[in-house]
Amino acid sequence: MYSNMLIKNGHIIDPSQGIDGIGDILIEDGKIVRIEQKSGSLEAKKKKNNDFRTSELPNFQIIDASGLYVIPGLVDMHVHLREPGFEYKETIKTGTMAAVKGGITSVCCMPNTNPVNDNKTVTEFILRKTYAEGSCYVYPIGAITKGQKGEELAEMAMMHEAGCVAFSDDGRPVMSSLIMRRALEYSKALNVPVISHCEDISLSEGGVMNEGRLSAQMGLRGIPYASEDAMVARDIILSELTGGRLHIAHVSTEGSVRLIRQAKERGVRVTAETCPHYFTITEDEVKGYNTNAKVNPPLRTQRDVDAIKKGLKDGTIDVIATDHAPHHRDEKLQEFDKAPSGISGFETALSLSLRLVYEGILTMSQLVEKMALISARILGIDAGTLKVGFDADIAIVDINKEFKVKSENFLSKGKNTPFEGWVLKGMPVITICKGKVYDWRQNE
C-alpha cells in the first residue's frame, strides 16, 4: 500500500513530453510529482548529479528500474470484459487484472454485453463494478443503436454524461447507411468518436475465415476482404459528409489501410486501430481447424500483414488495441463453424507489439504513442502520459526478458490464444495502477 514511490534509473519513454532517456520519477499520493532526466536533454545534462537522495524520502518505496523501460500505462481502446451477462467468459474483476498484467492501465469496454450497454443504467453498473472490483480504469463504450440492432439511436448523450467515451455497435455492424450517418452527425454534439466494426454482413454471412484459396481448400466459408473494405469506404464517405469523428476498429486488410491513408490525405476526421494478431499471424494459423485462430475480422494473408505494418509505420494506423475477446474453453472446443470468434489478448499484446520495435518498424516512443498516448487523445481521457500532476499509471518493461506463452497462466478467464507456446521477448515486469504496485517477477 505505498502510494509514495521513487522509480530510479529507468529508461523513461514519454512521447507526450518528448522524453526518451534515463531518469527518475517521483510519485506522491499516487500522482506523478517530478521527473528527473539524467541524460539525453540539455536541461538534464545541466542538472547533472541532481539525483534524488533516497535518505530524504523515508516513506517512499524505491523501485530500481535500471536496465528497464518506464512507460505510461497502456490505454487499450478496444476490449470485451463480458460483464454483465457473460461472467463465465470474463468479469470486470478478472479482465482488469489481466489487463494490468499486460501493462495496460486503462481499457475501453465494448457494449456487446447482456444487457447491451445502450443506456446509462448499464454504463453506471459497469462503472460501479469497476470502482468496487476493477484493478485498472475502465471507460465504457456505449452502443450506437438500441440493443445493437442497427435501427434506432441509443441515448448517446445520456450515456456520455454517465461516462461513455465513445460509441460502437462492435460485433454487429450498423448496416443501414442512414443510421450510421445519423450517428456520426449526432455524436458531433458530444465530440466523441463513433467506432466502426467495418463488415458488410451480407458479404460475410456464414463466413468463418478469410476467403481465398485456403478457405476453399479447408471447406470453410470465407469472409472476403471486400466485406471490410466496402464498409471502411462507406464510413469514410459518411464521415466526410457529416464531419463526424470516425474511428475504424481492428483494421485487417490491405484495402482498409489504403482507403484510410487516402482519406487522411484528404483531411477526413478518421482514425484507425489494428490488433497484434493482424500484424503478427496469417490465415495459415487456422489450418487444422484451430478455433483459437478464429477471430472477426478473420486473420488475413501475408500481403495484408505487410500492408498493416506499413500503415503503422507511416501513421495511417494510429492505435494498437487488443480487441481482447475472452471465451470459455468449452466454447472453443467445438466444430470450427460453431466456435465463437475472438482472441484473449491482454497478456500478449505488449510482447507481440514489441516485435515491431525489434523489426525496426516503430521506435519505442512510437510504440508507446500507439498503445497509450494516441488512444487516450482520441477518447479524451487523462491517461497515456507521465506528465506531472497525472495519475501514476506506469508500466515497467524488460525488453530482453524471454518467456513462453502459457494460457494456463493467464489471469484472464479466456485461455483462447493462437500464440500458445510461442516464445516472446519483452514483457511488463512491474505495473503501477491506481496507486498499487504489481511486481510480476515475484510470482515466478
Partner: protein
C-alpha cells in the same frame, strides 16, 4: 494411419494401397458368401449428424460384411438435439470402447476435431463443404476399372463445385495422380482451386470436348434462392448434361454421379440410363472401397 479424415491428408501410396485392397474385397463381394470374419469383435459407430441414406447404407453394409458390431447413431434420436456438445457426445461414445467412428457432419473439420480427441479410428463420411474421401476413392476405383489408370485422363467435373465435398475430394485425388481436371459450372459455384492444377470452363460445351470422364454433381435447390443461379431451367440449359452434350466428349466417355440425381436439372434421364453411365457400378464399388478403408485402418496387413 489412424484416421481417414480427407484425401488431402493421404499420400499417393496410401491411396494406391486402399484401391488395391478394395480390388480384393470386390472379389469377395462376387462370392456366394459375402461376409468375411476380418474385423470380428470390432465395434463401429455410425455417427450421422446429417441425413443420408446412400452413404450410411453403404458403410453399414461394408461394416457387416467385415463382421463388425455396428452401432447406429443418428441425429433425431440422439442427445445432440438436447444441446449436448459434439465433444461430450464423442467422449460418451468412446467410453463404450468403440474401434471406429464413421462420421458425417455439416461442419467442415468436424472429423478432424474428433480424430484429435479420441483413440478410435475416425472415418470421414462427409464434412460440410470440405471432403467426402470414400466417395473420391470409389470414384477413382470406378474410373480405373474402366480406363486402366487416372494419369492423363481428361476428367470434367460439372456443377456446384463450391459446395460439393465430393468434387473437392475428387480434385485432391485426381490431381495427385496426374489427371487433367476441368471444372465446369457457373462462376458463382466455382471456388479458387488454382493450387490443384485445374482448368475452369464456364462454357460447358467447350469443357466437355474430348473428355474421358464426366462427373456430374448434384445441384441443391436452395442455392437458387441464395443468388448462385437464377433458376433450375436456366441451370439445366447451360450446365445440364444431355445427349447432345455427351456426344462432345470422347466416344467411350463414362458418366458418373454421386447420387441422388436430380433428373432434368443436372442430368437428363436418357444420359443417366445410357450405356455410358456407370452410376450403379459406383454404388457396388463404394462397398468394396469402404471395406478396404476399415480393414487398413484396423492395422491389418497388406493382403486380404
Amino acid at each position: 494411419m489412424k484416421d481417414l479424415v480427407g484425401i488431402k491428408e493421404l499420400s499417393r501410396n496410401e491411396i494406391e494401397l486402399i484401391l488395391n485392397t478394395a480390388s480384393s474385397f470386390k472379389d469377395v463381394l462376387r462370392r456366394d458368401i459375402k461376409k468375411v470374419p476380418a474385423l470380428r469383435g470390432k465395434t463401429v459407430v455410425n455417427l450421422f449428424f446429417e441425413p443420408s441414406t446412400r452413404t450410411r447404407t453403404s458403410f453399414e453394409l461394408a461394416e457387416k460384411r467385415l463382421s463388425t458390431d455396428v452401432l447406429n447413431f443418428s441425429v433425431p434420436t440422439s442427445s445432440v438435439v438436447k444441446g449436448e456438445s459434439l465433444f461430450d457426445t464423442i467422449k460418451t461414445i468412446e467410453a463404450y470402447g468403440v474401434d471406429f467412428i464413421v462420421i458425417r457432419h455439416s461442419s467442415s473439420g468436424a472429423p478432424h476435431f474428433i480424430a484429435r480427441n479420441v483413440i478410435a479410428s475416425v472415418i470421414n463420411a462427409g464434412d460440410g463443404i470440405n471432403e467426402h474421401p470414400t466417395q473420391a476413392l470409389l470414384d477413382a476405383f470406378s474410373i480405373i476399372e474402366k480406363k486402366g489408370s487416372l494419369e492423363g485422363l481428361n476428367i470434367a467435373i460439372v456443377g456446384d463445385i463450391l459446395h460439393s465435398r465430393v468434387a473437392k475430394s475428387n480434385i485432391y485425388l485426381l490431381s495427385k495422380f496426374g489427371a487433367n481436371i476441368r471444372l465446369i459450372g457457373p462462376p458463382t459455384l466455382i471456388p479458387d482451386m488454382a493450387d490443384h492444377n485445374v482448368e475452369v470452363f464456364y462454357e460447358m460445351d467447350e469443357g466437355l470436348k474430348d473428355a474421358d470422364v464426366i462427373m456430374m454433381l448434384r445441384i441443391q435447390m436452395e442455392r437458387q434462392g441464395k443468388g448462385f443461379f437464377p433458376s433450375t431451367m436456366e441451370y439445366f440449359k447451360n450446365w445440364g448434361l444431355d445427349m447432345r452434350r455427351l456426344k462432345l466428349a470422347k466416344k467411350d466417355a463414362i458418366v458418373m454421379h454421386p447420387g441422388p440425381m436430380n433428373r432434368g436439372i443436372e442430368i437428363s434421364s436418357d444420359v443417366a440410363d445410357s450405356g455410358q453411365s456407370i452410376i450403379l457400378e459406383q454404388v457396388t464399388n463404394g462397398l468394396a472401397v469402404r471395406m478396404a478403408v476399415m480393414y487398413l485402418l484396423s492395422g491389418r496387413g497388406e493382403n486380404v
